[in-house]
């Protein structure tokens, strides 16, 4: 899976599902600016699990990895590479 595909999936989920029609971009600091709150983070993790078959270990759910859609996608892309989908 390419990093672009992951980015597109996350963008759509955040804008359509979490925000119900948002206009968030790849580099918006969605967590620092409060767009995505704690419930939003939980929903994102659920989405990542079903969409990318990836369980993010709790210790990796950090501000650094989830700061923007771009950092999330970069992190997830690494994970997919490291642990191929079974």
């Amino acid at each position: 899976m390419s990093v672009e595909m992951i980015q597109a999936g996350l963008l759509k989920f955040v804008n359509d599902e979490i925000l119900g029609g948002g206009t968030v971009g790849l580099d918006d600091e969605v967590v620092l600016d409060g767009t995505v709150d704690s419930l939003g983070v939980a929903r994102l993790l659920g989405f990542i699990e079903t969409e990318f078959s990836l369980q993010v270990p709790p210790e990796d759910v950090t501000i650094e990895n989830f700061r923007t859609i771009a950092t999330m996608a970069g992190f997830l892309h690494q994970q997919v590479g490291a642990e191929p989908v079974q």
Binding site: G20, G21, S38, P58, E59, I63
Partner: protein, 531 residues
Amino acid sequence: MSNRSHAYLLPHLIEQAADASPDADGLRFRDGALTYSELYGRACALANGLLEDGMQPGDRVGILLRKGLESAVALYGVMMAGGVYVPLDPFAPAARIEFVLRDCGIQRLVAGEQTIGTLLTLAETGLELQTVFGVPDEGVLPYRMVPWSTVEPLARTAPVIATTEQDLCYILYTSGSTGSPKGIMHTHRSALSWAEVAASAYELGPNDVVSNYAPLHFDLSTLDYFAGARAGATTTIIPEEVTRFPASLAAFIADERLTVFYTVPMALIHLAQPELLAGRDLDRLRLVLFGGEPMPIKHLRRIMQLIPTARFVNVYGPTETNGVTHYPVEAVPSVDDEALPIGRPYPNVDALVVDAGFEPVPNGEPGELVVRTPTMMRGYWGRDDLNDRAFHTRTPFGGLPDVYHRTGDLAAMQPDGTVRFLGRKDRQIKSRGNRVELDEVEAVLVNHPLVREAAVYAMSNEEGLLEIRAEAIPVQPGVESGELIRHLRSALPSYAVPARIVLRDSFPRTSTGKIDRLAMEAEALATGVNR
């Protein structure tokens, strides 16, 4: 210090701390800190700025700020000038903020760069304000703008004011049953009493590092700030984004060397994972306080095992009364489905479980919890209709009347003197620690033109926490639930917005044709969480 009036007010806490240890850190936030003398000096300067601007005693001043050192300067500054601080949720929709501003007649705000967007929206709606402090004048807002650079050079001595202990010091807004938020008024006396009770019950001292997890508009913050200042402790403000990431929060607790952590059950549930806490140096953390909603036992057991050196205390009390009972957990109950007791009343608190006729019920019997405490609110701002119902006066021995607050919570007194919380009397629930009226959410959903009928209820999710669920009957096929969520988000704070809306053709009904929400909950339970 010199200008001390005879009254003992909330801001005197930082004056005393500044006298006792001027160079001790009163507050920390990110890489910054304020010593008690800096905090005192900056608050004095703001108080003088507010008075120069024409602020009158008892005026409400809104605080529209993200968490930070300025928030603390603002709340003490407002009170030092004889004002009443009203914290506003910077993440709330502008319409909700506007409601609060209009409801209590706010003319002045302390705001910041991060909330300018909200200010612009408010200005577009035609909201009138006199002055905004803390934001430079860029010529885009129709208000008098007073930046910090103008405030800072003002006198760093407290103005002389005529405020007394009985006067208001802050108003906290929660949602109300009629669909509009209601302002809970506290006085210097009630707030100081709580600071004193909490500082003494938890033996807070100058060496403590107390967390500030909750935002200012959430009543948990009053312990962090005021009990912390009463003890001369350091209050360390946890940035909003850290509170959203358990791994980051775990690192923060260790790195900032917190000794006291006051939070909500949800945060502890998310923290209770070995991957997050194992190997961290948490030996300094001596006390974990939690409140706001019930803590599921199975999660409490896990977190207690992961932080074995800390003492865990369940704190109970509505915003109307501050903390009234607490339960230091000695032994974790062995059965998971048992509720954690809310414990015994703090000193000077009288807690009764009464029936509909306000007569105390026998031990073990359910009834409404009513409390009498010096930490009790004055009442709801401008809502005498609610005030009549919020208080009950008893004269048990024919003497002076005792005024109790009716919590609206169902409870039972245990034979050992501890109180067990059984739930809300009405449909007011706690979502992520915030109070939500389910009927209010329902009303907003039904307001949408594409919705025919709606039902909102709360049920426990897999983690044992209450989750808001909504179901709706659309007026026509092809309605998207995203559209309805968007509608709710524009009118309600995020914690009141249901995680999802299930669209359906019909609702289960009672025999009288009413929507049967209990049946819906049962259906949802039977079909699992992911229906």
